[in-house]
Each structure stands twice: as structure tokens, then as C-alpha cells.
């Protein structure tokens, strides 16, 4: 038997054991409550969205909502074709990804495969600072800096346009794409790289033929999360892209995204309970469904295509 056992001898510890168990249970209950709270809040939000959206769809048919291309709930001749807003959201999100994907992927390859340790230690935090800039700053950056430059290049570009907002949004989600992709690439085992080098690969071949394909599930899921972030992004498009719901893919004219519309109505004087007011719940529900699908897709891609390494 040990000379100095830790804790009281057996038998005498019974009272302490009871105390310990009670504490453990209390802590478990506390942790459960905090987790449950956030789940509860999420359920609450979805319930409110659903409830208000259902009363909206009592007045406007789902088909009219999802197939119409004119969105004029705030005018006297009301039309509820949400595709005008969906087009604005799609246009800005797609163009933002056109900016963010190549740049993000290239910088991820650089940081993961090429950058010396010293450079990575400096560059990565700087890149991540981009993610900490308030989006309202990005919005004014788009409106007051990028737009004038674009307009000096082409006179066809309006003061409010999708292009400027998209470029800046792309810059905003760039660190997300590059950081998550880089994490995925660095998780590729070193032995795989060595295997490729041992066959006479150059660094470029190792990066493009081995590391990127091996990290593809992580890269794709980073990309999908970035798309869903772009779809939900509000401030930049509200400030820089305009408030004209237009069913167009022309990036030079003012448009309106789903998020910007919600801002517009929430700030305006649409009376609670009116049909104008209810539209924002219908739009928000659609937005929620789209980003939910994106996130599920991302999880599916990760679980389905992840390679298991030892």
C-alpha cells in the first residue's frame, strides 16, 4: 500500500464523494442549460420567421413569391416577385466569390507550401485582421473609394452598383477562404508531400497535384461557407449596391439584395402587421433556407469526401 495516499482513506470519504457528485451534477446541468439556451434561441427565431411568413403567404401565393421578377411591395401597385432580390443577392455573391476564390486559394497555397515560417507568422495575422474590420467600414470603402475608381474607368457605372460592393465583399471574405483552405492544406500529412518529392516532383507539382487534391474537401467547404457568408452579408450591399430591386445580371446598375431590402424596411415606416412589414419575414425565411442548405452542403462535402489518414 502507498505510504501517502492522496485523499481521505476509503470509507471516511463517503460524505465528500456525495458532495463531489452533487457538484459534478450541478456543473453538468449548468453546461447543458447554456447549450440548450442557444438551441432554444435558434428555434425561437425560426419559429417567429415561420409564423410571420405563413401569415404573409396567406395573402401572397408561394408561387407568385418565388416566380415573380418584380418586387414593389412599398409602392401602391404591389408586386411580390422575390426573384428580383434573389438576382441581386446571387449577382453580388457570385462576383464576390470570383474575387475571393482565386485570391484566397493562391494565398492559401503560398502560406501553406511556399512561405518561410517567418513570413507566414507575419502575413497570416495581417490577413486575418481583414476579417475583423467592421463591415460598415467596408461598405463606405466600396462607396467612397472603389466606386469612384470604377466610375473613372467607365462612365456607364452608376454611383450605386453591384460591382463595387462585390469586389469589396470579395476582399472581406478572402481571409475566410484563405485561412480555412490553408488549415485544410496544412492538415495534409507531410509524408504525402515527401512521397511526391521522392518521385521527382517540383514544389509546384507537389502543391497542385497532391496537396490541393488531398485538401479538396476542406477547400470546398471553406468555399461554400464563404458563399453563405456572402449571401448573408448586409452592410456592404446596403451602402454601396443601391436599393433598386432589379431582375438583372448587369453589375453596373443599382440593385438590391435580400439583406439590403430587409434593412430598408426595418428602418422605414412600414406599420407592423401590414403586408409590407410581413414581406421581410418571408424574405428572411428564404434567406435562412438558402444559407442553411449551404451549410448542410458544406458539412456533407466534408464528411463525404474527407480522406482518412492515419
Amino acid at each position: 500500500m502507498a505510504k501517502n495516499p492522496v485523499g481521505p482513506p476509503l470509507g471516511q470519504g463517503a460524505r465528500n464523494a456525495w458532495k463531489r457528485m452533487a457538484t459534478e451534477r450541478a456543473i453538468a446541468a449548468l453546461l447543458f442549460l447554456s447549450t440548450f439556451l442557444s438551441v432554444l434561441i435558434t428555434i425561437g427565431i425560426v419559429a417567429v420567421l415561420l409564423f410571420e411568413a405563413i401569415t404573409f403567404f396567406a395573402d401572397v401565393s408561394v408561387f407568385e413569391f418565388l416566380s415573380g421578377t418584380r418586387w414593389t411591395p412599398l409602392f401602391s401597385s404591389k408586386q411580390f416577385g422575390v426573384l428580383a432580390l434573389v438576382a441581386g443577392t446571387t449577382l453580388t455573391a457570385v462576383m464576390a466569390m470570383v474575387v475571393a476564390l482565386p485570391l484566397g486559394l493562391l494565398s492559401a497555397v503560398y502560406l501553406s507550401e511556399y512561405a518561410p515560417n517567418g513570413v507566414r507568422k507575419v502575413v497570416k495575422p495581417i490577413l486575418e485582421v481583414l476579417a475583423g474590420i467592421p463591415t460598415v467600414v467596408y461598405g463606405y470603402f466600396a462607396l467612397l473609394f472603389v466606386t469612384p475608381i470604377l466610375r473613372s474607368i467607365s462612365g456607364d457605372i452608376s454611383v450605386f452598383n453591384a460591382l463595387s460592393a462585390s469586389i469589396v465583399m470579395g476582399i472581406m471574405i478572402l481571409p475566410m477562404v484563405s485561412s480555412l483552405s490553408e488549415d485544410a492544406m496544412r492538415a495534409v500529412p507531410r509524408t504525402l508531400r515527401e512521397g511526391a518529392y521522392a518521385l521527382g516532383s517540383t514544389k509546384l507539382e507537389v502543391s497542385t497535384l497532391v496537396v490541393v487534391p488531398a485538401a479538396l474537401s476542406g477547400i470546398v467547404s471553406a468555399f461554400i461557407l464563404a458563399v453563405s457568408r456572402a449571401i448573408g452579408e448586409t452592410m456592404i450591399v446596403t451602402i454601396a449596391a443601391g436599393q433598386n430591386p432589379t431582375f438583372t445580371l448587369n453589375p453596373f446598375v443599382p440593385i438590391e439584395t435580400m439583406t439590403a431590402y430587409i434593412v430598408q424596411v426595418s428602418q422605414g415606416d412600414a406599420p407592423a402587421g401590414s403586408i409590407e412589414f410581413k414581406t421581410i419575414f418571408a424574405v428572411a425565411l428564404l434567406l435562412f433556407v438558402i444559407t442553411l442548405v449551404m451549410n448542410l452542403l458544406s458539412q456533407f462535402v466534408v464528411s463525404r469526401f474527407r480522406e482518412e489518414y492515419e
Partner: protein, 257 residues
């Protein structure tokens, strides 16, 4: 020491990580179409020495190599030598099987493709897999993922992958340490067959393995003052039955290491 002209020779070879010396002044001759094993206790620099032969140490920024490694008269560390070209003349098989997360076929075809192979790829893939004694097990599922194979199969696939670029030397870094005894025997059998056409250097912890498969054995050691120096080199039969140095004897009889 060898009865032939060696394919690889090191002269005064030392390797440093930063300022720490991990291989000290090794002069080793590697025989053509024979198996040479490098044995020694953990941390004696066996793997680092092995990685000098295909310049894999170049991938470690802090590593520095001194001395010469001659490959058929060519100084591998010469100024005009491109390490990527050396690596398809001198192939490597690693401690843990490391197939790419691609199909079996694409794993074998990887090396030839990047090296601009223009011939019949199907034929080359088949020949390499046959040579690595795994063809019969995988011929019906060449397009399935290599990661679905067992450990022993993966290691033979990695050997096939190395053979596909038609190297002249194959370096093996403890190729059986992650395998069970049966898979180990299969790899050893394969090594014997391959030694008819290739020069093989194997690093191993397993002295029975070195005694079973290799023609020549080099014994490396680590002491307080010196790390990674070669104590003795000779025919495996002699090293394992009648070593000249008492430190070799102590090691092979299990008194340390």
C-alpha cells in the same frame, strides 16, 4: 571492401540540423544490385544518412550537408545538380505507407506523368504492379482508392509507385515498421527479387531483418561525443556472426539499443 565498383559512395559525409551534428564523417560504399542495410540504435542518424542519397534533407530548412555523395561518378551535391532529377533515379519507400488519396492506377502513374512519360501508361502501370507483387490483388480494382488497401498492400503499392519511374536505386526507410509479420515477409521476399535489378539501401531497426535480407550491413552508433558515425561496415554474414568491433557485437547481441 566491395568486390565491385560501388553505385553510391559517401566521402566524409556529415549532416547538421542547425549547429547540431547528426551524421558524422561517414564513408560508405553501396554495392550495385545488392541490398545494403543500415542498422543502429534510435537517434543514430540512420534515416538522415539515407535521406542524403536522394537529397530529401533539402526539404528541411535547417539541414546542412557536408562532404560528398557520389552516384556513379556524379557528385549529388554538385552545383549543377537538380535534386528533382536525382529523385527519379533514386526512389524511396517510407516508414509508413503513404499512398496518395487517389486511385491505385493514378498512384502508380503519378511519377511517370510528372516526368513526361510518353509510352504506354497501362503497360507501365501493370508492369510496376507485377514487379511489386501486388498486381493479382488489385488488377480488378485499379480505379478504386488506394486508401482502401491494407497496410501491407499499400506499402507494396508504394514500392510499385517508386518502380514506375524506373529508378536505379531504391531507398527504404524502415519499410516494414508499420506492418504485421506476414506483410513484412512479403516485402522482404520482394526486396530479394528486386535486388536482381536494383540497388537497395534499407534502414531498419530489426536486426533479424537486416541479417535475413541484406548482403552488406553498416552499423551506425551514437555516443556522447559523436552522433551518427559508422562503427563497422561489411558483408552481413560477417557483421552478424563475427563482428570486428566489440560495439557492433554488443549491439547485435542485444546489449544496448
Amino acid at each position: 571492401m566491395l568486390d565491385q565498383d560501388p553505385i553510391l559512395q559517401t566521402r566524409g559525409l556529415s549532416v547538421y540540423y542547425d549547429t547540431k551534428k547528426v551524421v558524422t564523417d561517414v564513408n560508405l560504399d553501396v554495392a550495385r544490385n545488392r541490398i545494403t542495410s543500415i542498422i543502429g540504435p534510435s537517434g543514430c542518424g540512420k534515416s538522415t544518412l539515407l535521406r542524403c542519397f536522394n537529397r530529401m534533407n533539402d526539404l528541411i530548412p535547417s539541414a546542412r550537408v557536408e562532404g560528398q555523395v557520389m552516384f556513379d561518378g556524379l557528385d549529388l551535391y554538385g552545383h549543377d545538380v537538380d535534386p528533382t532529377e536525382i529523385r527519379y533515379l533514386i526512389g524511396m519507400v517510407f516508414q509508413r505507407p503513404n499512398p496518395f488519396p487517389k486511385s491505385i492506377y493514378d498512384n502508380v502513374a503519378f511519377g511517370p506523368r510528372i516526368n513526361g512519360f510518353k509510352g504506354d501508361m497501362d503497360e507501365l502501370v501493370e508492369r510496376s504492379l507485377v514487379r511489386a507483387a501486388i498486381w493479382d490483388e488489385v488488377k480488378d480494382r485499379l480505379n478504386t482508392s488506394a486508401l482502401a488497401l491494407s497496410g501491407g498492400q499499400q506499402q507494396r503499392l508504394c514500392i510499385a509507385r517508386a518502380l514506375a519511374v524506373e529508378p536505379r536505386v531504391i531507398l527504404m526507410d524502415e519499410p516494414c515498421s508499420a506492418l504485421d509479420p506476414i506483410a513484412t515477409l512479403a516485402i522482404e521476399e520482394l526486396m530479394r527479387e528486386l535486388s536482381e535489378d536494383y540497388s537497395i539501401i534499407i534502414v531498419t531497426h530489426n536486426m533479424q531483418q537486416a541479417a535475413r535480407v541484406s548482403h552488406y550491413t553498416a552499423f551506425l552508433m551514437v555516443e556522447e561525443a559523436r552522433v551518427g558515425f559508422m562503427v563497422e561496415f561489411g558483408e552481413s554474414r560477417q557483421i552478424f556472426t563475427n563482428p570486428e568491433d566489440e560495439r557492433t557485437e554488443a549491439y547485435i547481441t542485444g546489449r544496448f539499443g
